[in-house]
Symmetry: C2
Subunit: 217 residues, 2 copies
DNA sequence: ACCGGACTTTGCACCCACTGCAATAATGAG
DNA sequence: CTCATTATTGCAGTGGGTGCAAAGTCCGGT
């Protein structure tokens, strides 16, 4: 392997190499896709550019798409979830979801990965299809969020538990609207070239959501 | 070809055969995917089941996915769009979008296709991934809707045209929320086994959206 | 410094999705 | 019935993706 890992990441050689390779592959696929288009690039070219064999590419990413999509936010820890569930009806539920998602978005430090984030932002902005793919790959998070929102709704007003179908329906609607907020935040963030943090955009989008909800436009 | 077309559809033999084949392929892919899973079925099997060659399969659908996803709603005609754009600020914008989308959803008659619709509903309900794929394939409609919503916002209050970036941001948010409504409507519709029309679910979901917006839960 | 077990990389053979092309068959208009 | 149009198919080829086993790398213990 010809990967010059700046030795920042802690851990053994293995760990460091693994991260470096992962970054190299993402850098390669994003760079190549940016000037030839996603379909104009083969895994063979990507692997070559990243300095690994095609077979190794698939040890790191299950599909070519996965490499451009990158890591997707995960559900925050149980503590943050409990805080959300038991915040009480005083807090608007969308506000609660927003704060919950903020902890999801903040993770993923990845030193040496700033350029990757930027490349990805540019690419996904230019190709709506890839952007929707990324959103689609958050389906897991979405499903988990639905059940957390259900818990919250029951906590706020235990009567709703009496009608599970309606409860589920509401939880899903809240979740879908929240995801509309995420999509919006990401779009804005990409459009302004990554000015400020994604977290700030998320706050803006949810605020705007409240404005829309109040029917002010 | 061994397709027994009940001769309902008008038009020449060609047209009828084409529709029959298209239906046969969809029926085949949906049926097979329902008991072996989407990945457990090959195009060869699907084509055989539908009574066509594998090559012909790809004359009807660009990908295996496209066959399960089926036709996706399109933007309604210019007349309906104009009605939406110039409805005036008296009508809430989400209500307007809802009505606009109702005309999109109502099309697609496809006689002989009732069973296909039902199979598809069952399959997509069981496989969230396929459902998100279907939503993702509506990206085109979504993009068009954004620009229509922009026109509406300008029509309602021409001052917003002075800040194009903000205008675009708002239009996108409205559109994303509307799509949250569509997703919700579709989920509910699939979950109740297709009871009632999808259009009715859409109305329900948008009503619920207003309730959520008013912060009533 | 060396050894042996654990993990990684790679090549190879293979399956399947998908495409362009050219031959053949079905349709429809006059 | 004829011929232009359009649909179907086979074939050969590209590229994504996987299982397996061989070879290479890392790391902890001695």
């Amino acid at each position: 392997m010809t990967v010059t890992a700046s030795a920042r990441p802690q851990g053994g050689v293995r760990e460091r190499k693994r991260i470096a390779t992962r970054n190299a592959i993402q850098r390669a696929v994003l760079t190549l896709a940016l000037d030839r288009g996603f379909d104009g690039v083969t895994v063979e070219e990507i692997s070559h550019e990243a300095g690994v064999s095609p077979r190794t590419f698939f040890n790191y990413f299950p599909t070519k798409e996965a490499a451009v999509i990158g890591d997707v936010p995960e559900m925050p820890d149980a503590e943050a979830i409990d805080r959300f569930v038991s915040a009480g009806a005083g807090q608007s539920i969308l506000e609660g979801v927003r704060d919950l998602l903020l902890s999801s978005v903040d993770q993923e430090p990845n030193p040496d990965g700033a350029d990757i984030e930027s490349l990805r932002r540019t690419l996904l902005r230019a190709h709506p299809y890839l952007f929707t793919l990324r959103m689609a790959s958050m389906k897991q998070l979405e499903l988990e969020l639905v059940s957390v929102v259900e818990r919250r709704l029951v906590h706020d007003d235990s009567r709703v538990a009496g009608d599970p179908e309606r409860l589920h329906s509401r939880a899903r609607l809240v979740t879908y609207v929240a995801f509309a907020g995420i999509r919006h935040a990401w779009s804005c963030w990409a459009e302004t070239g990554g000015r400020g943090a994604l977290a700030d955009r998320l706050i803006d989008s949810f605020t705007e959501l409240q404005v829309l909800a109040r029917g002010e436009y």
